[in-house]
C-alpha cells in the first residue's frame, strides 16, 4: 500500500467515525418528551392544572365582561380607561377581534392542555394507585370546569382531549361538550375525597362535593332538572357544607376555605405582586380605583342593581362600596378622573362612583389587591341551583326550603327584613329564585349566564343592546378563525 492510499484510507476512516457528534441534548431545560415520568412529576403536573384559575385570562379574559354585559354592572374605572376595549360590553357592541375573547379562549385551552397531560400521561407512571386516581380525578374536574366555562360562552367548541392537538380541528356540538363534561365528572367523583378528608394545608384541592356541584350545575344549564336536583342534593346531604353566618365571609378573607367554600382558588395575600408570587389578579381589576389604591375599579354596580335589593337587605351594604364610605377604618375617596355622579342628556342620574365590595381585602397596609381567594362555587349557589331544580321539577316545598336557608343567613338575625318565602306557584317562585340569585351572587359572574339560560336575557338586556339569537353566545375570537383558516365556524351574528 503506498502512502497515497494510506492517507486516503485515514480520510475515509475519519469520515465514518463521527455519528454521535450531532447529539447535543438541550441544556438546563426539561422537554415535554421526558415529562411526567415519576410520582413527583405527577404531583407537579396536577398542581400546575390549578394555576389556570389564578391566570388573569381565566376571569373572562381579565375583565369581568360577563357582569358588565348584565344589568348588574357597568364598565367602571374612569370614562376613558379601556373605553374602546371594555366599554363595548355595556352596549353589546363588541367585535370578534376584542382581546378579551382571545385572552379568555387561550387561557382556557392552556388549562385544558395541562389537564390532558395528567389524564393521559400520569396513567403510565408507577406510583401509589389511590393518589394516581385522585390526581386524574382532579384533572378531570378541572377539564370539566374549563369546558363548562367555554361551552357557556361559545357553545360547541373544539373538544381537545389529547396533549398533541393537530390542525384542522372543528367545533364539536354543544351537546358533545356537555357530554364530555358529564363523562369527566362521573368518572372523577368516585375517586375524589370529601372536603373533610383533605388536610387543612391542602384545602382548595378538588373535592367530591365540588364535582357533584358542577355536575348538577351543568345538568341545570341543559335543563335536565331531575338529574340536576339529584346531584345537587348529594352536595347538600354530604354534611360537608353550610353557610357562613356572616354574609361578608362568604367571599371574604375570614371565610377562606370555610364551610361555604365548594370550589375556591387560593392566592397569596402578600406584599409582592405578580402571579409568580402566588397572587391572583381577579380582585385587582375590580378593586377600588384611586384612594385607597386597591385596583383598577372595573365592574361598577349599577343603580338598577342597587335599587333592586329588597328594603333592608344587608347584602346590599356588603356588595357595594360607595365613595365616602368608611370600611376597616379606611375612607373610600375613589378616583379623581371618575365623576362621582354621571347623568345622561336628560339629566337623569345613570351611574354613581362605587365599587365591588366582595373583592375588598381588609387591612390598612395592603398594597395590591391580589390575594383575594375567588370562590368559583359556594354553597349558597348550590342551594339556589337546587331550589331552581326543585321548582322546575314541581317540588315547590323543597325549593322553598333551599331559598329560605339562603334568606335566613342573609338577614343575619334581623327578622324585620327578608321574610321567608311562603308557598306560591311555580312561575312566581321562578322569579323569586332568580331575584335571590341576583342579590346573593351579585358581581360574582353569574347574572348574565343566568339570564341567558333562563331565556330572560332578551327582555331584560334588550334595552342595553342584547340581540336575541346572537348575544347568548360570545364570538369565537377572530384570530382563531384566521389561524384555522376557517375550519372553526363563527357564531351567528358576528
Amino acid at each position: 500500500m503506498n502512502n497515497t492510499m494510506k492517507v486516503l484510507l485515514i480520510f475515509i476512516l475519519l469520515v465514518s467515525s463521527c455519528d454521535d457528534l450531532l447529539e447535543k441534548p438541550l441544556q438546563n431545560s426539561l422537554t415535554q418528551a421526558s415529562f411526567p415520568i415519576s410520582a413527583s412529576d405527577a404531583l407537579a403536573a396536577i398542581n400546575a392544572c390549578y394555576y389556570v384559575f389564578r391566570e388573569s385570562g381565566y376571569h373572562t379574559g381579565m375583565y369581568p365582561i360577563d357582569d358588565i354585559m348584565s344589568d348588574d354592572a357597568r364598565k367602571g374605572s374612569n370614562p376613558d380607561d379601556a373605553a374602546s376595549t371594555i366599554g363595548p360590553f355595556d352596549t353589546f357592541e363588541f367585535a370578534a377581534t376584542n382581546g378579551s375573547f382571545s385572552n379568555w379562549w387561550n387561557t382556557l385551552y392552556t388549562g385544558i392542555k395541562r389537564t390532558n397531560v395528567v389524564i393521559n400521561l400520569v396513567q403510565d407512571i408507577e406510583m401509589d394507585q389511590t393518589l394516581k386516581a385522585q390526581y386524574i380525578a382532579e384533572a378531570q374536574f378541572i377539564r370539566a370546569q374549563l369546558y363548562f366555562d367555554a361551552v357557556r360562552a361559545w357553545g360547541g367548541v373544539p373538544l381537545i382531549l389529547t396533549t398533541t392537538p393537530t390542525v384542522g380541528v372543528v367545533r364539536s356540538t354543544l351537546e358533545q361538550v356537555y357530554d364530555q363534561i358529564e363523562l369527566d365528572l362521573l368518572d372523577a367523583i368516585p375517586n375524589l375525597p370529601l372536603k373533610a378528608e383533605i388536610s387543612l394545608n391542602e384545602q382548595g384541592r378538588i373535592t367530591k362535593g365540588a364535582a357533584q356541584g358542577l355536575l348538577g350545575k351543568s345538568y341545570l344549564y341543559q335543563k335536565r332538572y331531575g338529574e340536576a336536583l339529584a346531584e345537587l342534593k348529594k352536595v347538600i346531604t354530604s354534611g360537608q357544607y353550610g353557610l357562613e353566618p356572616d354574609f361578608d365571609d362568604a367571599n371574604g378573607i375570614n371565610g377562606e376555605f370555610g364551610v361555604e367554600s365548594v370550589f375556591e382558588v387560593g392566592a397569596v395575600d402578600g406584599l409582592l405582586e405578580g402571579i409568580e408570587n402566588g397572587t391572583n389578579f381577579y380582585a385587582n381589576v375590580q378593586g377600588v380605583r384611586g384612594t385607597p389604591n386597591r385596583g383598577w375599579g372595573f365592574n361598577r354596580p349599577t343603580l338598577d342593581l342597587i335599587n333592586s335589593f329588597e328594603t333592608g337587605d344587608p347584602r346590599l351594604e356588603s356588595t357595594v362600596l360607595y365613595v365616602g364610605e368608611v370600611i376597616d377604618e379606611i375612607t373610600i375617596s375613589g378616583d379623581g378622573l371618575t365623576p362621582d355622579e354621571t347623568r345622561d342628556s336628560n339629566n337623569n342620574l345613570i351611574e354613581v362612583e362605587c365599587y365591588n365590595q366582595k373583592v375588598w381585602t381588609p387591612g390598612t397596609i395592603v398594597a395590591p389587591t391580589q390575594g383575594h381567594n375567588r370562590r368559583v362555587m359556594r354553597y349558597a349557589d348550590v342551594l339556589l341551583l337546587a331550589a331552581e331544580a326543585a321548582n322546575e321539577t314541581s317540588d315547590i316545598a323543597q325549593a322553598l326550603i333551599y331559598v329560605n336557608q339562603v334568606r335566613l343567613r342573609a338577614r343575619e338575625g334581623n327578622n324585620d327584613v327578608l321574610p321567608d318565602i311562603t308557598t306560591m306557584g311555580q312561575e312566581a317562585l321562578r322569579g323569586v329564585i332568580m331575584n335571590e340569585r341576583r342579590h346573593e351572587l351579585a358581581l360574582e359572574g353569574h347574572r348574565f349566564w343566568d339570564l341567558v339560560r333562563t331565556d330572560l336575557a332578551g327582555s331584560i338586556l334588550g334595552p342595553f343592546g342584547f340581540a336575541s339569537g346572537t348575544h347568548e353566545l360570545m364570538p369565537i375570537p377572530q384570530i382563531e378563525i384566521d389561524l384555522t383558516q376557517g375550519s372553526l365556524i363563527q357564531n351567528n351574528g358576528y
Binding site: A48, T110, G111, R114, E256, F257
Partner: protein
C-alpha cells in the same frame, strides 16, 4: 469628563512609543570587504530589471539594481549566497564562490501575474473563476483608523452595505451582502485562515493579506448552511518563500476624533418660551435662565492610538510572520474606551519535500470601559434651561432624564476579554495530482465584566440608595476540524481542480452573572461578590441564563473544470449535518452549478484589440442560514405554574407542558441566481464587472401564533414560513493610467437593490404580517409586497387651522386647532391605528462608492466618497415623550394661529402630534467624504542613506463631511434587527477622525 491628569498621562504614553520608533529607525552600520557586481535581466526578453533586490543571505546587506538592472555590492562573507528578487519574478539564490561578476536572469512568476483569488477551501486564477467574488487589497483595509477591519469596507465593494451606526469604541459595523434576506440574523459568516467565525473584531487590519467577499452561490455553496448571508474570507499575512532577509515593519498612527455634527435642538430661551405656552407663567424672565447645550457638555475630543511591529521572512525550510499591535480608542463620550493588543504568529515548516506543517495563531487581550449607553439620548432630551451644576457645584437636577454628568460619574462598567484563534495544519503532497490537508482550528474566548454603582443622590428621580456591584463571566469555545483532498491536473487543453472534504465543528458558550448590594468597602479592589464585603443576602448569583451548544458535521466537494482557457465549469456541493435540528432535518444539502466563458480567448475577440479581457459567467445554487434560534425546536416544561392551597397560602410546585416548540424547524434557504460580465479595455486600463443577481430566501423562521386550542397561552411558535426576495445589479469599474511619473486610478462601484417580502405566514389572514413595537407603538410592519421592516404610522395632511376644519374632518378626540391632520386612510370616519399606512423602507435601493488616487514622486493622495439612498429613516427618538423634554430646533417654527404654518404643529409636550407619523420620516440619502489620505514615501536614495528602504509618513481624515437631510448625528441608522432597522432611537455618534502616522520598513 476627561480630566487633565488623564489627558496628560495619555500624551505621555503616546510620546514614549514615538521615541521608541525613532530609535528603531537607526539602522545597523555595516563593515564591508569584498565586491560583487553584475546585471539582472528578464529571462524571456533579456531586459534589465530596474529595482530588483540583491541581498547577501543571512544578513541585512543588500542593494537595489539600477535603471538598467546593474548592481554593485560589497559582501561580508565570500561563502555567502546571493538572493535576487523582484516583484512578479521567481526569487533566485546563488552561491557567490570566488566570482566578482555574476549575471542573473529571473523567470516570470506566472501565478503571481495572473491574479489569484482566494475562495473557500482554496484559491483560483481570477480568469478561471465562475462566481461573484470581490477582493479588497490589504492597503485599503488600513486606511481607516478603526479597531474593526470591516469599517474599511464601507463603500468599497459593490453589493456590500457596511454601516457604522455606533461610534462606541470597539463597535462592529453591520455588514449586509446583497440585501436583507431574512427577518432574523442577516450577518455574513467570516472565515479567517480557514476558521469559520461570527465576528472578526479581534483582527488587526495590518495583519490582513487579502479580504474576499463571496457573494453568489457558486462562491458560497461550499459553506452550505452558512452561506446565505454571504461569506467574507480573510487571509492573514505569512512570510514569503525565499525572503531570507526579514522584513521588519514598524508603524505608528495617532488620531483625534470629534463629533461630526450636532443635532439642532432648542436653546434655553426658546425652550422656555415653549414651556410658557404649554404651562403659562412657568418662567417670568426668560433672559435670566441659563442656556445649556448638553451636547457640548457630553461630547469631547479624544484620541486613537495604533502601533504595530511585524517581522516577516523565511529560512530554507520555514517561513514566519510575527506581529504585535496595540490599538487604543478613547470614545468621544468620556468614560468609554477600547484597548486591544493583538499578537499573531503565522509559521510554515517544510518537514520534508512532501510534508508541510504550519499554524496561524492569534492571541488577543482586550480591555474596555463603557459609559452609560443612554447618554446621547439623555443630552437629546435634557431641558436646556438648566445649568449642568448648581451654584454650590453639585450636579443640577434635570427633570425626566437626570443629569448626564452624574450618569457618567456614577457609571462604572469595565470589561476584559481574551480571544485565542488559531489553526494548526498539516499538508501532504501525495503525488503530483493529490494533496491532502488536515487542520484543527480552535477558537476560545473569555470575557469578564465588572460594574459598580455607588450610593448617590442627585434628585428624587436620579439616585441610588444602596450601592451595588455586578459581575459577569462568559466563555465560549469552539473547534473546527477539517480534512480535504485536492486534485489538480492539467493535460492538453484540460484543467481540473477538484476538492473533497470532511469537516466537523463544535461550539459551546455559557455565561454566569451575579450581583450584590451594600458594600462595606467600595473601592475598585473590592468589586467582588464576597460574602463579607456586602450584605450576603443581597447576592443574587447563579443566574445561569444562556447557553448554546451545537455541532456540525459536513461533507463538501467541488470541481472546477477549464477547457482551453475558454470554457469554465464549476460544480459545488456541501452536505451539512447540524445538532441544532431534530431528527428529520438534521441534514441538508446545498448544491451550486456555474459556467463561464472567457470570450477574450476566442479568436474573434483577439482581432478586437481594444479588449484585453472579456468574460461572461452564470451561477445558480442553494445556500442556507442556520443562525436561527434553534432552541425553539423544543417543547419545554413550564416552571412556576404553582398551586396555592390552604389557609397558609402555601405554594405547591406545579410543572406541566409549557412553551410549544416546532420539532420540524430547519435552516433558512436562499436560491441564488447570478449573471456576470467582466471586461478589460485598453490593455486593462479600464476594467470592470457587472452582475445581475436574484436571491429568493424561503423557509424564513417566523414566530407565528398557533390556534388557541393548542393550549399555548397565545404564545407563538417558530415556523419556516417566510419568503423574501432581493434582486438587483452591481457594477465595479476602474481606470488606471499614468502620465510620466504621475500615476492615477479612479474607481467606482454601484449597487441597485430591490427588497420585497413575499410571504410572512403565508395564510393571507390577519397574521400575514410581522410587526415591531417601540414603547407601545407599532413602528414597522413587514407584509407581502413591501421591503422588510417597512415603517408604519399615520400619514399627515398638514395642520388643522380652525375648529370648523376639525369638525368636518375625522380627528382624534383631543384635537385642537394647530394639531396635525392624520389621514383617515380606511375611510371609516375615525382616526385610529387602523389608519396606519406604509411610510417607506429602511433598506437603501442604491449604494455607491467612488474613489480616486494618484501618486507622484513618492506622494500619494487618495479620496474616497461613499453614499446610499432610496431608503427612509424613522426619527423615533423624537416621538417618545412621557415627560417634558427638549425639542428639536424645527419646533420653534410652531403654528401660532390660522394660516401661520401647515407644517409645524402647535407646541405640545407629547400627545397626538407625537404619534408615529410621516412627520418623523426622513429621506435616508447621503453622500459622504469617507476618507482623504495623503502620504509621502521618502525617496529610495534618501532611505538607503539612512538605512531604511522604505519610510512613509501620512496624514488622513475620515468622515470629513456627510450631505444628508436627516437631522440626527448620522444618516447611518442600522440597529441591526431586520424588522427594526433604520430607526433612530439615539445612538453613540460616529466621529470625524484626523490622523497622522509613520510607517517604516526595514529589509
Amino acid at each position: 469628563m476627561l480630566n487633565s491628569v488623564d489627558r496628560l498621562q495619555r500624551m505621555k504614553k503616546i510620546c514614549l512609543v514615538s521615541i521608541t520608533l525613532v530609535f528603531l529607525s537607526i539602522s545597523i552600520a555595516l563593515a564591508q570587504t569584498l565586491k560583487v557586481s553584475g546585471r539582472i535581466v528578464d529571462s524571456e526578453n533579456g531586459e534589465g530589471l530596474a529595482g530588483a533586490t540583491v541581498l547577501e543571505e543571512g544578513t541585512n546587506n543588500g542593494t537595489i539594481a539600477d535603471g538598467d538592472g546593474y548592481f554593485n555590492l560589497a559582501i561580508l562573507n565570500q561563502n555567502a549566497e546571493l538572493s535576487i528578487s523582484f516583484i512578479g519574478y521567481l526569487t533566485k539564490v546563488e552561491k557567490i564562490g570566488n566570482r566578482s561578476l555574476i549575471n542573473f536572469s529571473l523567470d516570470l512568476n506566472i501565478e503571481e501575474l495572473s491574479e489569484i483569488v482566494v475562495i473557500g477551501y482554496g484559491s483560483i486564477r481570477k480568469s478561471d473563476l465562475t462566481g461573484a467574488v470581490s477582493s479588497v487589497k490589504s492597503e485599503e483595509l488600513v486606511k481607516i483608523p478603526a479597531s474593526n477591519p470591516l469599517q474599511a469596507l464601507q463603500g468599497k465593494v459593490a453589493g456590500v452595505q457596511v454601516n457604522n451606526f455606533s461610534g462606541e469604541p470597539g463597535a462592529a459595523p453591520t455588514v449586509r451582502i446583497r440585501g436583507v434576506g431574512t427577518f432574523n440574523n442577516n450577518n455574513p459568516v467570516y472565515v479567517v485562515d480557514g476558521v469559520i467565525l461570527d465576528d472578526i473584531g479581534f483582527i488587526n487590519s495590518n495583519d490582513i493579506q487579502s479580504l474576499e467577499v463571496l457573494k453568489d452561490a457558486s462562491a458560497t455553496a461550499i459553506y452550505g448552511s452558512r452561506g446565505a448571508n454571504g461569506v467574507i474570507l480573510i487571509t492573514t499575512k505569512r512570510g514569503a518563500k525565499g525572503q531570507l532577509t526579514p522584513i521588519v515593519t514598524v508603524s505608528s498612527e495617532i488620531s483625534m476624533q470629534s463629533l461630526q455634527k450636532k443635532i439642532e435642538l432648542l436653546d434655553g430661551n426658546k425652550f422656555s418660551e415653549i414651556v410658557n405656552i404649554l404651562t403659562p407663567g412657568t418662567y417670568n424672565n426668560l433672559d435670566a435662565l441659563p442656556s445649556t447645550d448638553w451636547q457640548d457638555v457630553l461630547f469631547t475630543k479624544s484620541p486613537i492610538q495604533s502601533y504595530q511591529v511585524s517581522v516577516a521572512g523565511a529560512t530554507n525550510k520555514s517561513q514566519y510572520y510575527f506581529s504585535v499591535a496595540y490599538f487604543k480608542q478613547d470614545g468621544i463620550i468620556p468614560h468609554s474606551s477600547f484597548g486591544r493588543i493583538s499578537i499573531r504568529v503565522n509559521n510554515d515548516y517544510q518537514i520534508s519535500k512532501r510534508i508541510k506543517l504550519g499554524h496561524n495563531l492569534s492571541f488577543v487581550p482586550t480591555k474596555s470601559q463603557s459609559t452609560n449607553g443612554g447618554a446621547p439620548f439623555n443630552v437629546y432630551r435634557a431641558q436646556p434651561n438648566i445649568a449642568p451644576y448648581t451654584l454650590l457645584g453639585a450636579f443640577s437636577e434635570v427633570p425626566g432624564v437626570g443629569n448626564v454628568l452624574a450618569d457618567l460619574e456614577y457609571t462604572n462598567s469595565f470589561s476584559k476579554g481574551l480571544q485565542l484563534v488559531g489553526n494548526f495544519f498539516l499538508e501532504v503532497a501525495l503525488n503530483k495530482a493529490f494533496h491532502f490537508r488536515t487542520s484543527y482550528g480552535p477558537n476560545i474566548s473569555y470575557t469578564q465584566d465588572k460594574g459598580y454603582t455607588p450610593a448617590y443622590y442627585v434628585s428624587a428621580t436620579q439616585n441610588n440608595a444602596i450601592d451595588d456591584v455586578r459581575r459577569r463571566y462568559a466563555w465560549s469555545q469552539g473547534w473546527l476540524f477539517e480534512n480535504t483532498i485536492n486534485f489538480n491536473k492539467n493535460w492538453d487543453k484540460h484543467r481540473i481542480d477538484a476538492l473533497v472534504g470532511f469537516t466537523t465543528q463544535d461550539n459551546s458558550n455559557e455565561f454566569i452573572s451575579g450581583s450584590g448590594q451594600n458594600l462595606l468597602r467600595s473601592n475598585e479592589n473590592f468589586w467582588y461578590l464576597t460574602q463579607n464585603n456586602l450584605v450576603a443576602s443581597s447576592i443574587s448569583n447563579g443566574i445561569y441564563d444562556d447557553n448554546n451548544y451545537y455541532s456540525m458535521v459536513s461533507y463538501l466537494g467541488r470541481v472546477n473544470y477549464v477547457y482551453d482557457n475558454k470554457y469554465l465549469f464549476t460544480a459545488t456541493f456541501r452536505r451539512d449535518g447540524s445538532s441544532k435540528f431534530l431528527d428529520a432535518n438534521k441534514w441538508g444539502s446545498f448544491p451550486s452549478l456555474a459556467v463561464g466563458w472567457n470570450l477574450i480567448n476566442e479568436s474573434f475577440m483577439k482581432s478586437l484589440s481594444v479588449f484585453s479581457n472579456a468574460k461572461i459567467r452564470a451561477s445558480w445554487g442553494i445556500v442556507g442560514n442556520e443562525k436561527i434560534p434553534y432552541q425553539e425546536a423544543y417543547s419545554t416544561i413550564s416552571d412556576g405554574t404553582n398551586a396555592i392551597f390552604g389557609p397558609n397560602e402555601q405554594q405547591f410546585v406545579g410543572q406541566s407542558f409549557g412553551k410549544l416548540g416546532n420539532p420540524d424547524l430547519k435552516w433558512e434557504s436562499t436560491k441564488t441566481l447570478d449573471f456576470g460580465f467582466e471586461w478589460g479595455l485598453l490593455r486593462d486600463k479600464l476594467v470592470g464587472e457587472i452582475d445581475y443577481f436574484r436571491k429568493n430566501t424561503y423557509d424564513i423562521l417566523v414566530a407565528l401564533q398557533v390556534p388557541g386550542y393548542y393550549g399555548n397561552s397565545g404564545g407563538s411558535v417558530f415556523y419556516n414560513a417566510g419568503e423574501v426576495r432581493n434582486k438587483g445589479w452591481e457594477m465595479t469599474t476602474s481606470w488606471t493610467d499614468q502620465i510620466g511619473d504621475f500615476q492615477y486610478k479612479i474607481q467606482g462601484n454601484y449597487t441597485h437593490l430591490t427588497n420585497s417580502t413575499q410571504k410572512v405566514s403565508g395564510t393571507g389572514g390577519s397574521d400575514d404580517a410581522l410587526y415591531a413595537f417601540f414603547n407601545g407603538y407599532t413602528v414597522t410592519k413587514t407584509t407581502p409586497g413591501v421591503p422588510i421592516g417597512s415603517f408604519y404610522g399615520y400619514q399627515t395632511a398638514g395642520i388643522f387651522q380652525n375648529i370648523e376644519q376639525i369638525n368636518n374632518t375625522p380627528h382624534l378626540a383631543t384635537t385642537q386647532p394647530g394639531d396635525l391632520i392624520f389621514v383617515d386612510s380606511d375611510g371609516d370616519g375615525k382616526i385610529n391605528t387602523a389608519d396606519f399606512v406604509n411610510l417607506g423602507s429602511p433598506i437603501p435601493t442604491h449604494m455607491y462608492g467612488l474613489s480616486a488616487s494618484a501618486s507622484y514622486m513618492g506622494l500619494d493622495l487618495s479620496v474616497d466618497f461613499q453614499g446610499q439612498g432610496g431608503n427612509k429613516i424613522y426619527n423615533l427618538k423624537e416621538i417618545v415623550r412621557p415627560a417634558l423634554y427638549n425639542f428639536e430646533a424645527h419646533v420653534a417654527n410652531y403654528w401660532t394661529g390660522e394660516g401661520t404654518t401647515n407644517i409645524e404643529p402647535r407646541p405640545t409636550a407629547g400627545g397626538p402630534n407625537f404619534s408615529p407619523s410621516d412627520r418623523f420620516i426622513y429621506k435616508g440619502d447621503f453622500i459622504r467624504l469617507r476618507n482623504v489620505a495623503l502620504s509621502y514615501t521618502l525617496p529610495a536614495a534618501l532611505s538607503a542613506k539612512i538605512g531604511t528602504p522604505k519610510t512613509r509618513i501620512f496624514v488622513s481624515a475620515t468622515n470629513v463631511f456627510t450631505l444628508s437631510e436627516f437631522p440626527g448625528y448620522s444618516p447611518e441608522v442600522a440597529n441591526g434587527g431586520a424588522i427594526f432597522n433604520g430607526i433612530d432611537t439615539s445612538v453613540y455618534p460616529v466621529a470625524t477622525v484626523y490622523s497622522g502616522g509613520i510607517n517604516v520598513t526595514f529589509k
